[in-house]
Symmetry: C2
Subunit: 542 residues, 2 copies
């Protein structure tokens, strides 16, 4: 028996219509360094229509990929609306990828147009000639376009294109399951992999972000996405803001503590999302200058684990940081670490330092060896798996199919789930060391080692071991002039972890290798060890 | 190009899993008159599984309709979860329908099982023999079942069925577009018509109710649905509460002001939804007894226009009433009349006394004669049309297809839309009088007439007129002992409305006929007039 309800699709077009028509007077402000330029959502709606018309005129008439190489600004929002709503696919290029990765993903996605901020031309120009499928480059704002010439692409001015296009566009009817946008993982293991969001997933994710257990967004909010729009949809904040009729404040390229604080004082956002390192800098600056962040009612924070000290520091100035967890493959918001209603003291903090509770609509579970589903008892540790309508079910071109099974995504994160749904992550699956049937957390060993006064950085990886299958190898960067030994570090650890977890193998290195987004690149360490490129002190038998 | 996202359905099963697993410790309290009985969501989850197993054993193995004839209580919630999640269709029978309407809809829907509260056996018993497709009657709680015997149905005890069923159920995979629940309109124009909700529509409606611009529900809330669960899903409050991990408080059959206030004082709900007449009674009782309603942060109110005096009265005791508008066909919540963020004084009140702003995801428009879409200028008046994923696209068995066109539902309500999306309703379309190309609002004439000190009730309907196509007929109930004439009433109106709107035809009646839910039944008046059953004073020529 079928229902009698309308078969109305869940699309970004609907988000755009609501934001630009019902909430047309709401404003989006883009920071210019010493102030903000402003447009109303109604104006953004007309400009999105013009952009769609201009892209159509450039030959975008199907699901071609239109890439953006842009900061967070009004024009990027216009592309967020126009490209998916015209039936094409938005591909947000991550400015921070290595040049060869940028070339790889532009070719892999088969980008046809690139919209680039004038200020980013120097970054794009060196790689543009190798982006084989790109035919058109559209330049937003000021900037010397000379470096783009000679790459064999047609160059256009964004504003000239919009001025020449009609102010209305016949937005097509779109199947909600068709592609709306693409984003590539940052690729700590092998090549970046493409996630293709649908209209449906973007809509449901945005709506979910607006609910009371997520950000509770309403038209009373002013939303500041510091997290880049080229990074997992800026956590869905731009679309969610439009669904809520909330104002937007965009930082453009001004991402250092000082301009961010000035922007917050001037524009008084109520919700602002960024990674922990940015909030650390903002907190330090605020303390030094007595700045006023009191407009913020909620600061979602994620991308890496949020230190408790950072949350307590913000609590002291009356601003609530709430940890969120997710990944490119989860749209990205999957959990939020609000304290349970009414919880105080230790109970509240235990929740707040966890990765949080899964958003309604998603399901999460912890799986042990042999894909056995473990109990949600706050103790059993395994790989976290997740499913739901805004979770990836495959990568573009079906790469790495082993990450998916039975309709679940293997997140690659290891942790446990409490009976009331709070998730505590302890490690990345690939970084867990499986020693004689027991799991050793590399992250825990690293955190203890980095607490040693002579240690600047420490990375622990599992290496093959005849007896135990795998054992930890600790690679340590020591403070200049310090003369700590491997035996002393092992002794230091022995007060902090069980004896069987103590590493036997130690290497002293100049620097821990990093990925393009600054994470420890452990596969490089494993390879160096395998190739004999590390000088290893072996304490076996000590 | 298709996305790579999981094809995960939007179902009530997901709502049930989230509520009963992630939020299993949250409680639902059902009022017993002098206290509450309680169950955790986890217990409700197990009991829903037992109920599904028991219904399967009774032969419910497809999309059979399982009807409920119940107050708001835990067992009704169990049916809300179990019936749709097992793939069957929940049909909530409206206790307040006339007996012949009850029989009509049970037969029209082809109900196979009826679950009935013991206290409601006396209401069900007289009509049960005529419910031809019903095979099983399941009685919840105490109650003399003797009156049900002899109707040719198998009788069961709810608790015995559950005790005999397994504590787990293999919930099937469900297509989100399949039927989840049915509700019949109250039928002010002809027979009741069936609306068949889908899993998808229920899910999206519930999620939307949780967003900041609707009720902003979170796990900090305790939700009291006074509005019956047999009436348009209790405005989606039960499902929304489970999606939010909010506690529920159910009033069962205790719907008078005194027990409601006691329940509010004891259980301290934060959100409570009911129609205006109930809140009027609660306000009066609260003033008389100095009761404490301070736990309520938000009171959604709808079903009929909310008087400004009622909202101001609640403001005085610190409780915020927010008007909501919708109908059975809209799941039902479609608009909410929060004041715009930051608005105060007259501007805020203008918004609050309107029917409000459309929820994100829905689209609304005003259509004039010849289906011309009118401007959203706060002035142009026409019929309101609406579309979106939780709006009905047809009635069960395709009855009354004229209510739907081009993917829009004609709401039958007449009003205007402001540029910022606020809707003001002035009339029901069928009650508007079209006189010589101009529209006369019957509601406005009635309101003016009822302000006359000698008038108790007044109903105005359009009747055929040779010259003007249609003219108003005013049917008036006067205070006992009063001797006001038609000419005097017309004179009274002439200071308040334009001359061309003044009724020529007047009737003095003993009582305005009402529908089963207490609304003016204007079709009866029109029929009486047509059949010459009214004594009409004709002032034409005055």
């Amino acid at each position: 028996m079928w229902s009698t309800m309308q078969d109305f699709p869940l699309t970004i077009t609907t988000i755009m219509r609501y934001g630009t028509q019902v909430c047309g007077a709401v404003e989006i402000a883009t920071w210019t360094g010493d102030g903000a330029r402003r447009r109303s959502y109604a104006e953004v709606g007309e400009r999105a229509a013009r952009l769609a018309g201009a892209l159509r005129a450039l030959g975008v008439d199907g699901d071609q990929r239109v890439a953006t190489f842009m900061w967070n600004n009004t024009e990027h929002l216009e592309a967020y609306l126009a490209v998916p709503s015209m039936g094409a696919v938005l591909h947000t290029l991550n400015l921070r990828l290595f040049p060869d990765q940028l070339v790889y993903i532009a070719n892999h996605a088969e980008d046809y147009v690139v919209i680039v901020d004038g200020s980013l031309i120097p970054l794009l120009a060196p790689v543009l000639p190798q982006m084989k499928t790109v035919r058109h480059v559209v330049v937003v704002g000021e900037g010397d376009t000379a470096p783009l010439e000679g790459a064999g692409k047609e160059l256009h001015s964004y504003e000239e294109l919009l001025a020449g296009a009609p102010p209305e566009f016949a937005w097509p009817e779109i199947d909600e399951r068709s592609a709306a946008a693409m984003c590539y993982t940052s690729g700590t293991t092998g090549n970046p992999k493409g996630v293709v969001y649908s209209h449906r997933s973007a809509y449901l994710h945005s709506l979910s972000v607006c609910t009371g257990n997520a950000l509770g967004m309403s038209d009373a909010d002013v939303v500041l996405p510091v997290v880049p729009m080229f990074h997992a949809n800026a956590w869905g904040l731009p679309y969610a803001a439009m669904l809520a009729g909330a104002a937007l404040v965009m930082p453009d390229r001004f991402l250092q503590a000082e301009p961010l604080v000035k922007l917050i004082e001037a524009e008084r956002p109520t919700v602002a999302g960024a990674v922990p390192t940015i909030w650390s800098d903002v907190l330090r600056y605020t303390r030094e200058h007595g700045s006023d962040l009191s407009s913020l009612r909620l600061v979602p924070c994620g991308g890496s684990a949020v230190p408790e000290a950072l949350m307590r520091g913000f609590d002291e100035i009356g601003v609530r940081i709430v940890q969120a967890w997710g990944m490119t493959e989860t749209s990205p918001v999957a959990t939020m670490a609000h304290a349970p209603a009414g919880a105080e003291g230790e109970r509240a903090w235990r929740a707040r330092v966890s990765q949080g509770r899964v958003l309604a609509g998603l399901e999460i579970r912890v799986v042990g060896d042999g894909d056995v589903v473990l109990a949600n008892d706050g103790e059993a540790v395994g790989e976290v798996e997740i499913r739901g309508p805004w979770i990836t079910g495959a990568y573009h071109r079906d790469e790495d199919p082993g990450r998916f099974h039975d309709g679940w995504l293997r997140t690659g994160d290891v942790g446990n789930l409490s009976a009331d749904g709070y998730m505590v992550l302890t490690d990345r699956a690939k970084d867990v060391i499986k020693s004689g049937g027991e799991w050793i957390s590399s992250v825990e060993l690293e955190n203890h080692l980095m607490a040693h006064p002579d240690v600047i950085e420490a990375a622990v990886v599992g290496v093959p071991d005849d007896r135990w299958q795998e054992r930890p190898l600790a690679s340590v960067v020591v403070r200049e002039g310090a003369s700590v030994t491997a035996a002393q570090l092992r002794e230091f650890l022995s007060d902090r972890v069980p004896k069987w977890q103590l590493p036997e193998r130690w290497a002293f290195i100049a620097e821990v290798p990093k990925t393009s987004v600054g994470k420890f690149d452990k596969k490089v360490l494993r390879r160096r060890y395998a190739e004999g490129g590390l000088e290893v002190h072996d304490l076996t038998g000590f």
